[in-house]
Every structure is written in structure tokens, then in C-alpha cells.
């Protein structure tokens, strides 16, 4: 049985926070570069600024965006793995160290409703655990800014809903998100599960690489359709018009109750900061 020391998880999470805040995933960067060639005028200029921003962030170590987000982790634990120490504490400590040493903005408040006092270390991170056969520990981290997160929505449809109903719901969410959620977007959609799982699936979808479509052909076709229709809205970069409003649309689906059809839309901004590492 493989043994992983908790302190190694801390140092990895720390590095992941710092790297994610400063470096766009290569697929996202490539998608932005490609989108530039399809645009003109102001939209093209704004896309060039996005690329310039990515360059400055990586080269000179300024966070890509001042909102370095809520730290969201998906942790896949191999069943043949023994973790020596408390994994949750190790991850939280890694986030704390990463945000301090990386000069990242601490945005988490302790009490959501009354005091709203900053915890000053960006903890607690939000951690989702799952298990998988094998002896690997897979950590995926998303730094999720509030501008786009605040525009995310969930609806419990009746199973009688049509594909058009679902599409209209997604399009309406995207249009409402508009300029303040920092388009061009990456849209995560969770379909099925139940109330809380649909939201979780929509978040997980944001980890997918651009141009990696759903393995199920029906869902892949829906992803392509939605991407086309979102681009037709002409929201454009920064909501100032243009033919690229989204860089990717990703659907994750799951079985659900015969009487339910939950759909969640998690809006992701163009600074889609995520990173995956395996120990």
C-alpha cells in the first residue's frame, strides 16, 4: 500500500494555488489565441489585452485577476492509498500558505450573513472528495472568482421539459451574466443527479479541457449546439459585442429520479484558472 504524508499534500496544494493564479491552462490560452483570429475591431483589441494580461501574469508574477477566488478542490483518493495525517487539514494549510506566499487576495468571509469578517487566509477551501481504485491521489483545484459565480443558476425542471427548454434556460443564464461575469465564458452545465449534485456537476464540468466534448454523442451535440447559440448572442469579449461569447460549453450528466430533471449552469469567466496534479 502506498503511503502519502499529509505534509506533501500541503506543499503541493500551495504550489497549485500559486501556479493556477498566475498561469492560464494551455488549452484556455490556445482557445483565446484562436478566437482572436475570428474577431475584429474592439473585440479583437480586447482579446489581445487578454493575451497580454496572461503574458504579464506568468512572466512577472501578477495574479491573472485580482479576485483569486474561492479555492475549490476535487480530490480523488485511491482505495489502495494510505494518507498519513489529516488530508483536510493538509489541504487547508496548503491553501493558507499558497495565498500568503503567492500574494493572492484573501476573499473568504467567516460569516456569510451577519459579520462577514474576512478569514484573512482564504480558508476554508471547498473540498469535494471521491474514491477511485488504485494508489493515486488526484487533486484538481479551481480558483473561482465571484463575478462569474454570482451569475450561476440552478433549476429543477419537470421531466416533460424539452431540449429547447433546457437550451433557453442556459441561454438566459448566459445573457443575464453579461459583461459583469467577464466573457468570453466557459460554461459548466450539470444535468441530473439531484439538487446539490447538479450544481456539483456543473462545477466539475469547468475542469474539462477545451474541445474535449462529452463522451456521449447526444450530450456532445448539445454542447456544440449551445456553444454556437451562445456565440450568436453577440455578447462578445467584455460584453461589448463580438462573435465569440464563449470558449467552451461542457455538460456533465448523471442518473436522476424519474420525476426530476435538475439543470445547473455554472458560469466561468475567461480567466479560467484550474490545475490538476497527481501524487
Amino acid at each position: 500500500m502506498k503511503i502519502i504524508e499529509a505534509k506533501n499534500i500541503t506543499s503541493l496544494v500551495k504550489k497549485m494555488c500559486i501556479k493556477a493564479a498566475h498561469e492560464l491552462p494551455s488549452d484556455v490560452l490556445l482557445a483565446i489565441k484562436k478566437s482572436q483570429t475570428k474577431q475584429k475591431g474592439l473585440a479583437k483589441y480586447l482579446t489581445a489585452l487578454m493575451l497580454e494580461n496572461a503574458k504579464i501574469a506568468k512572466k512577472e508574477l501578477y495574479p491573472l485577476c485580482q479576485d483569486t477566488g474561492t479555492s475549490v478542490l476535487f480530490v480523488e483518493i485511491g482505495t489502495e492509498l494510505f494518507i498519513k495525517g489529516n488530508i483536510t487539514k493538509a489541504i487547508q494549510e496548503g491553501v493558507k500558505q499558497g495565498y500568503k506566499e503567492g500574494y493572492l487576495r484573501k476573499s473568504i468571509v467567516q460569516d456569510p450573513l451577519f459579520k462577514r469578517k474576512n478569514t484573512n487566509d482564504n480558508t476554508p477551501a471547498i473540498i469535494h472528495y471521491s474514491f477511485k481504485e488504485g494508489d493515486k491521489l488526484k487533486l484538481s483545484l479551481l480558483l473561482k472568482g465571484a463575478g462569474s459565480e454570482n451569475k450561476s443558476v440552478l433549476k429543477m425542471f419537470a421531466p416533460s421539459a424539452t431540449i429547447k427548454d433546457i437550451k433557453d434556460f442556459v441561454l438566459s443564464a448566459v445573457k443575464t451574466a453579461g459583461a459583469s461575469a467577464c466573457p468570453p465564458f466557459i460554461i459548466g452545465i450539470g444535468i441530473g443527479g439531484n439538487f446539490e449534485h447538479a450544481a456539483l456537476l456543473s462545477k466539475k464540468a469547468l475542469l474539462r479541457k477545451i474541445n474535449n466534448f462529452n463522451k456521449n454523442k447526444l450530450y456532445a451535440a448539445l454542447e456544440k449546439d449551445l456553444l454556437k447559440e451562445i456565440n450568436k448572442t453577440k455578447i462578445g469579449p467584455q460584453g461589448l459585442g463580438g462573435n465569440i461569447s464563449a470558449l467552451g460549453v461542457f455538460i456533465e450528466e448523471e442518473p436522476c429520479h424519474t420525476a426530476s430533471l435538475p439543470v445547473a449552469v455554472n458560469i466561468g469567466c475567461h480567466v479560467s484558472r484550474h490545475i490538476t496534479e497527481v501524487l
Binding site: L42, L46, L49, M50, E52, N53, A54, I56, A57, E60, L61, Y62, P63, L64, C65, Q66, D67, T68, Y103, L104, R105, K106, S107, N118, N120, G145, A146, G147, N150, G178, A179, S180, A181, C182, Q238, G239, L240, C269, H270, V271
Partner: protein
């Protein structure tokens, strides 16, 4: 393309149209949710903001030897609740933010305030426009404190001009 330098007067900006590209230089003040809440709800206005521009922004921490951390705009609509009173009490001439405003804010800005869009998700890029940065109020609010910033050629777009014309 228009190059604007602080300080400004209504006279200087009255003919700048919605949709124009601006490069702004000079002193501006950052503030966001908590500073607005404190000032408006406690009727506490210790800074002279007459004819000043405020920037809805909360920076990332500044690395040693740097002028600023990352500093792009935050969602303006969150400030809508306080903005009409804030404009009346302070006499600001401009707001820099991100995204649409509600009708009440649009009406309150007409004839008095130019609404400028900074581009979201470009915090590193905007950091390079900052030549000087210091906290001047509410230090205890951390990134939500009021920062006095010296900016140079900060690229913006006019979302709503002084006449009240808007591109959003």
C-alpha cells in the same frame, strides 16, 4: 481615442460620447462594497471626492518592490444600492467599474457622472498602469480599503456619457 488626465471638470468631458475609448491618467480612488456601505449607511464622508473618479476594485496584495497588486474592476451592480446617495453626497465626476447599472443609477449619473468600463479579468494588465498606490481610508478592510492610485494610460470604454447615453 481620448487621453484624459485628472483633475477633470464636467466641461472637459461633456462631449465625450458613450462607446469612446479612453486612456486615463492621474489620481483615482478605489472603493467597493464595504467602503460604500460604511460611507453611505453611516453618512461618513471624510474624503473630498468632488470631481474625483472612483474605481470599483479590490486589489490583490502588492509584492515587495511593486507599485500594486493585480487590480481589475469588480461588478458595479453590487454598488447600485448606494450609488445615487454616494453621488449626491460626494460630487464625484466619474465611476470605473464592470457591467450594467440599474435604472436609478443611470438616472442619478445623468448630467453629473461619466461611467467608464474597465475590462474584467485583466488584473495583471491594469497593475502595470498603476504608478503609485496607498491606502487612505478604512485600512482595516484589507483589499476593500480605499486606495488612492496614480494611474497612467489606463484603457477604458465610456459606458454612459454625461448626456446619459449608454452602450449597455
Amino acid at each position: 481615442m481620448t487621453y484624459l488626465k485628472m483633475p477633470l471638470t464636467l466641461e472637459k468631458i461633456k462631449n465625450i460620447k458613450a462607446g469612446s475609448q479612453i486612456f486615463l491618467s492621474g489620481t483615482i480612488f478605489s472603493m467597493r462594497d464595504k467602503a460604500h456601505k460604511k460611507m453611505v449607511e453611516e453618512n461618513f464622508y471624510p474624503l473630498n471626492l468632488k470631481n474625483q473618479i472612483i474605481f470599483y476594485m479590490g486589489p490583490s496584495p502588492t509584492r515587495p518592490g511593486r507599485k500594486s497588486g493585480s487590480c481589475g474592476p469588480t461588478t458595479s451592480a453590487r454598488m447600485d444600492k448606494w450609488t445615487p446617495t454616494f453621488i449626491k453626497k460626494t460630487g464625484i465626476i466619474g465611476i470605473i467599474g464592470k457591467g450594467e447599472r440599474c435604472q436609478e443609477v443611470k438616472a442619478a449619473m445623468k448630467g453629473k457622472v461619466i461611467y467608464l468600463l474597465a475590462f474584467g479579468g485583466l488584473g495583471a494588465f491594469y497593475a502595470k498602469c498603476v504608478k503609485k498606490s496607498e491606502i487612505v481610508l478604512f485600512k482595516e478592510l484589507g483589499c476593500e480599503a480605499v486606495y488612492k492610485l496614480e494611474v497612467e494610460n489606463m484603457p477604458l470604454i465610456v459606458a454612459q456619457d454625461i448626456k446619459g447615453e449608454s452602450i449597455l
